[in-house]
């Protein structure tokens, strides 16, 4: 049996959700891929879907971070959840970013975005990343204009 937990509203709410992960709090964390600029294809976002307090009630969606609109561009890597922080990658002007989202210190506050690296050489980070126990991040990038791709390391 299939149950729809949430329907994405496109535009600023995002659309085309990618992989979701299940957090220890029972929430689902995922991303939407930003598509054509300012269209109903939706913005690139990182979202949280919180289960209802009573069975059958609607799930609550919260956008933790919006990357705005872009053509086939957005947080296209599966998120990594570690010690309550979310790690991901998205394309952004010049190439892309690897980001860390930290939860607010008080409930209802905003999540804090830290960009661990900004690719400005045309390389776009994407796909599954690896987070090691000592906090290093490894991932892949693609730059089709130069015909190259890379494997990178971001050490703490």
């Amino acid at each position: 049996m299939e149950t729809t937990l949430y329907t994405f509203q496109a535009f600023a709410d995002g659309a085309a959700p990618n992989d979701v992960i299940l957090g220890p709090d029972g929430s689902l964390y995922g991303t939407t891929l930003g598509l054509a600029p300012a269209s109903d294809n939706g913005a690139g976002t990182v979202f949280q879907l919180t289960p209802p307090g009573t069975p059958g009630a609607p799930w609550t969606k919260t956008i933790l971070k919006s990357f705005g609109y872009g053509y086939n561009c957005g947080p296209d890597s599966p998120l990594i959840l570690h010690n309550g922080d979310l790690y991901g990658a998205a394309c952004l002007s010049g190439g892309g970013v690897v980001f860390k989202l930290e939860p607010p210190s008080a409930p209802g506050g905003a999540w804090t975005t830290t960009y661990l690296h900004h690719f400005t050489d045309g390389q776009v980070p994407g796909g599954a990343m690896v987070l090691t126990k000592n906090g290093a991040i490894y991932g892949a990038t693609i730059d089709e204009s130069s015909g190259t791709g890379t494997i990178y390391e971001i050490a703490p």
Binding site: G70, T112, A140
Partner: protein, 174 residues
């Protein structure tokens, strides 16, 4: 298909950058692929594994070994190159799963029994040092409107708690 999935370049609104806070971290490029593109990384047993796509062939599965001495070069080895033959898996995409038996599991966007609907495949390690890896097609996806009808273009592969593999597909499937 490829163009819809490829990470093509977007120029987002410049004001977005104004609010960027950069953390203190050390960035290094470990390895550069030329002419083909890595689609993600998986770590197992001291090495990284991943799949690549390229426009002129069907893509590869690679292993990236760390340098033997600090500061040395990382070594990429192509474990398997998908043959560009009808019915075979083509265009691997997404993450790999490393099995306890050393086998690699992944999905491809193309190839398979149903008119390029994609596949889930297994690569068994060689039985002798330096031998060839062996490809087995676990499943062929049906693609849109094709026999099978179970959705096409698999986009990711995940290992379930009981050893099952779960696949997400792009279009009309699950």
């Amino acid at each position: 298909m490829r163009t819809s999935r490829a990470l093509t370049f977007a120029v987002l609104a410049a004001p977005l950058l104004a609010s960027i806070a950069f953390g203190q971290s050390h960035f290094a490029t470990l390895y550069t692929f030329t002419g083909y593109y890595p689609t993600g990384l998986t770590y197992a047993n001291g090495a990284f594994y991943g799949a690549t796509y390229q426009y002129t062939s069907c893509g590869t599965v690679f292993e990236l070994q760390p340098p033997v001495a600090p500061g040395g070069a990382w070594t990429e080895t192509t474990l398997y190159a998908f043959p560009n033959t009808v019915g075979d898996p083509c265009e691997p995409y997404g993450n790999l799963v490393v099995g306890s038996n050393g086998a690699l599991y992944g999905v491809t966007e193309g190839g398979g029994a149903y008119d390029n609907g994609g596949t889930a495949y297994e690569l068994q390690p060689p039985t002798s040092l330096g031998g060839a890896w062996t490809e087995n097609v676990i499943y062929s996806f049906g693609g849109l409107g094709e026999p099978g009808g179970d959705g096409g273009f698999p986009t990711g592969l995940f290992r379930g708690p009981a050893g099952s593999l779960y696949v997400t597909t792009c279009c009309g499937g699950t």
